[in-house]
């Protein structure tokens, strides 16, 4: 029961934090001047009407030489309108200045950009976790032998290379010099064809190399600590073979620490990597976010800010909570 209480408390706290951050963002965005400029081919009167209809401004009246005058709606009321529309209609607003998406619902655009980001990260996790764990286990079992030393050097190199340099290096050598992969990701919508998969690979490698090193280091440290534990000696004494002892006791115990980090990475995949998406021109959420900043499209910015905040908050509490579920030794919230 205390576990349930604890989870509820953490989730409640997270939602509270989330609410405060969103309110803060909304207020700060709404303090900015409202973009009322009509784009070429747009009727300024319609722009004004749209803004009025969305509840951002009120009392629009046409002044001399085509300019409009309007009153601003108090921000609290705007916020009320915003939340009401999200809750009742699932409407996060429409794009106002983002070139190619003007007048489209931001939620739809956002959803259409999710697949590449998620796919790349899922592929990278699928490749990274087994290799990382495998290397870590190998290094721990062969501790201080040559295999361990080779893996260690590899880990140190990969960890100290900044991802920006790693991605650039991959792009230069594999995409440009050797020509094995296209320089940028294919823009096709058919995500599950060989062509698109092939064009995604450099980005996937750039993403997973870093996490391979991370997992390997983590696993090696954990497992080699568990292997020296006294219960391992007991396991061998009562007649288990080395293999049985490692599989049934050591691995399980070391996974207690490793598994939560994998879990949180699975949540974190949603947010993707802005740098990798930019470098390989992946048509994902990261690019959308960067462009919404350049175009100053506030509805987009609000939606994506909510998204990123939620993802990072969730990833953080997933680790905490999963510890309690996986490891009975950790009794959180218990008196």
């Amino acid at each position: 029961m205390y576990m349930f209480k604890y989870v509820m408390k953490r989730v409640g706290l997270m939602l509270f934090t989330f609410f405060i951050i969103v309110t803060m963002c909304f207020t700060l965005v709404k303090l900015l001047p409202i973009p009322t400029n009509a784009l070429p081919g747009q009727d300024p009167a319609i722009v004004m009407k749209t803004l009025e209809g969305r509840g951002w401004i009120t009392n629009v009246r046409e002044g001399a030489n085509g300019t409009f005058k309007y009153d601003r709606v108090p921000i609290l009321i705007q916020y009320g309108n915003y939340i009401k529309r999200i809750v009742t209609q699932g409407d996060f607003g429409i794009a106002t200045t983002y070139g190619e998406y003007v007048n489209m619902p931001v939620w739809d655009v956002f959803v259409s950009h999710l697949p590449p980001t998620i796919l790349i990260n899922i592929y990278s996790t699928l490749i990274g976790v087994p290799i990382g764990l495998g290397l870590g286990i190998l290094a721990a079992l062969k501790k201080n032998k040559w295999q361990d030393q080779v893996i260690n050097v590899f880990i140190i190199l990969l960890i100290s290379l900044p991802s920006i340099v790693l991605a650039l290096g991959l792009q230069y050598f594999f995409c440009f010099k050797l020509g094995w992969f296209p320089l940028t990701m294919s823009t096709s919508d058919e995500y599950f064809t060989w062509e698109v998969f092939h064009s995604m690979l450099p980005a996937v490698f750039a993403l997973c190399l870093g996490s391979i090193a991370g997992y390997a280091r983590y696993t090696r440290a954990e497992l080699s600590e568990v292997l020296t534990g006294e219960f391992m000696l007991l396991a061998r004494t009562k007649g288990l073979t080395k293999r049985q002892a490692i599989y049934r006791h050591a691995m399980r115990n070391s996974m207690v620490v490793i598994f939560p980090s994998i879990l949180s990475e699975f949540v974190g995949v949603l947010s993707g990597s802005l740098i990798i998406e930019r470098m390989f021109t992946i048509n994902g959420v990261g690019g959308l976010y960067l462009n919404s900043i350049t175009f100053q499209d506030y509805d987009f910015f609000m939606l994506l800010s909510c998204f990123y905040t939620l993802v990072s908050l969730t990833a953080a509490i997933v680790i905490d909570i999963s510890y309690g579920f996986i490891d009975p030794r950790i009794r959180m919230g218990a008196k």
């Binding site: 934090t17 989330f18 405060i20 951050i21 803060m24 963002c25 700060l28 965005v29 303090l31 900015l32 100290s160 290379l161 900044p162 920006i164 340099v165 650039l168 290096g169 792009q171 230069y172 440009f176 320089l183 802005l274 740098i275 930019r278 470098m279 976010y289 960067l290 900043i293 350049t294 100053q296 910015f301 800010s305 990123y308 905040t309 990072s312 908050l313 953080a316």
Partner: protein, 530 residues
């Protein structure tokens, strides 16, 4: 019994013996010197080879950032579109004749491309093709050679300069003996297409002036035929500008059929004189005589970017900015974080709960969002680096306050604190005289680890274009890397290479250094290394 007791009335000194062989019973004075906390930390640090190497590399990078801006005449504001993608050149390697770092690159061209490079080399007498060595593939279609990117630019486009400048260049030529101006080609004899019309490298007769790609015409011996604009004293056109300076080799009036011909070096057009100047010499003239900015020769140690910026200068200025910026942010974070963390950690209870909640919520806002909002609000009024500073500061102090808070929690219930309180020390004195110095090691280490993180975030943000630090004399390593990525397709890998090497060295050495510092300040490791 009495006899024995009175055997000696006074015990002689020689009968007395020490109970032990040694002559003293008191404690021995310690023969070793006491090791203070910081001395011990330093000793442990010095034993860690990796950390020391890291420290030395950091020192070298810092020196690079400090010294180079004083020695290079180039600045981040400098750019020259004609000299873009010029390869790195080190005079030592050039003089030694080594095919590396010599301002050249391997080039493979077809016959026409090769001929064009040859043509520039012939006219200017420079080694556009290094040592004039080239190899031809077996079918004769591919020529490969080391192509000098500095001389290969040749003449660039026809330029229009003022009459005074035209005169000044002639004067300069006479004084120095360096030839800047070369004979021009008459407008009617030039290729007709717009993109070739102003190309000053085409000084020869072409096979088809209307063609898209110009092929030089060659005579029977395979030499190109110059197509200079000739005139005699009588037939001199009004548009030919007077010229009384160096002439190209062998041309002091060419006599043909009893007439003396001269080459035209300038054409009078609206707004000045149209000239054909060899860019290498013209560049020197421009910088030495006109701009007087200390640049004596086009020689770029790390090459130039796509917009013709000097990579060495950009990197050094960018590094200097990064170091100063990161240090400032770290100091600001340190001050605020320490004060916040010590109050929160020392007093605990409700104050701690409130302060922790506040920091937690602020820390949960992704940095990216903070920066964007700040940029929207302040971007127009204050420089971008200040926006970045405020953004890093707004979220960065939280980590520091956590570290400090942990240290305060660790020490505040120890006996010596209790003793100090019993003796009447006030809270402030206990916090900063008794607790803080004990936590200092850990806190300083986290400052050292924050600096590379800062530099890396700043690099990524300027790479992503969220923050544009390139203004005036400020630039950023991230901006350079972004330029480097664009240059990949132009086969100019060196543009990205140098900033990347810098970044890798910086991150690696700071991590080694920081880890060494962390271990050194951890007193539980004392003695474990002996």
């Amino acid at each position: 019994m009495a006899n024995t007791t009175n055997k000696y009335e006074n015990i002689p000194v020689e009968k007395l013996r020490f109970a032990k062989k040694s002559d003293a019973l008191h404690d021995k004075k310690l023969s070793t010197k006491p090791v203070s906390y910081f001395q011990g930390a330093f000793r442990r640090f010095a034993k860690n080879k990796g950390a020391v190497v890291g420290g030395v590399v950091i020192l070298v990078l810092v020196l690079f950032a400090i010294i180079v801006p004083f020695f290079t005449p180039f600045t981040p504001g400098y750019y020259d579109m004609t000299y873009n993608y010029v390869t790195p050149k080190n005079d030592l390697f050039v003089d030694a004749g080594i095919d590396f770092w010599d301002g050249c690159k391997e080039k493979e061209a077809n016959y026409v491309g090769f001929l064009k490079d040859q043509a520039i080399a012939q006219e200017t007498g420079r080694e556009v093709i290094k040592r004039n060595e080239y190899t031809v593939s077996e079918d004769g279609s591919v020529y490969s050679y080391r192509y000098n990117t500095y001389y290969g630019v040749g003449f660039g486009k026809y330029k229009i300069i003022s009459l005074e400048k035209y005169m000044a260049i002639q004067q300069y030529q006479l004084e120095t003996g360096r030839q800047v101006l070369y004979p021009i080609v008459d407008v009617t004899a030039r290729p007709t297409l717009e993109k070739n019309k102003y190309d000053a490298n085409i000084y020869y007769v072409t096979e088809d002036p209307k063609a898209k790609t110009i092929r030089p015409k060659v005579d029977t011996e395979g030499n190109i035929i110059p197509n200079y604009w000739k005139y005699t004293e009588e037939t001199k056109s009004k548009t030919v500008a007077d010229y009384n300076s160096l002439r190209i080799e062998g041309e002091n009036g060419i006599t043909q059929n009893g007439e003396t011909y001269y080459y035209a070096y300038g054409r009078i057009v609206d707004g000045g004189i149209e000239i054909r100047a060899e860019y290498y010499e013209y560049y020197i003239y421009e910088h030495v005589m006109e701009k007087k900015d200390g640049i004596e020769e086009p020689s770029f140690f790390f090459g130039t970017t796509d917009t013709g910026k000097d990579i060495l200068a950009c990197l050094a200025y960018g590094a200097r900015f990064s170091f100063i910026f990161a240090t400032l942010v770290a100091v600001a974070n340190f001050i605020v974080g320490v004060i916040w963390g010590s109050i929160s950690g020392y007093y605990g209870g409700k104050i701690d709960l409130f302060m922790e909640r506040f920091a937690e919520i602020l820390g949960a806002v992704p940095t990216m969002i903070v920066i964007t909002l700040l940029k929207y609000h302040l971007g127009a009024d204050i420089p971008q680096w200040l926006v970045l500073f405020i953004a890093f500061f707004a979220t960065g102090w939280i980590g520091m306050s956590h570290t400090t808070r942990m240290q305060f929690y660790r020490f505040k219930n120890q006996e010596y604190v209790l003793a100090a309180r019993t003796l009447g020390a006030n809270d402030f004195r206990i916090m900063f005289k008794h607790i803080f110095p004990n936590g200092l090691g850990t806190i300083v280490t986290s400052v050292a680890l924050v600096i590379p993180a800062m530099i890396y975030s700043e690099t990524s943000l300027s790479y992503l274009g969220i923050i544009n630090l390139e203004a005036g004399e400020i630039t950023s390593v991230g901006t350079l890397i972004a330029a480097g990525q664009k240059s990949i397709t132009a086969d100019a890998g060196f543009v990205a290479l140098f900033p990347c090497v810098f970044l890798v060295l910086l991150m690696l050495s700071f991590n080694l250094f920081g880890n060494g510092l962390r271990d050194a300040f951890n007193p539980s490791l004392r003695g474990s290394e002996d």
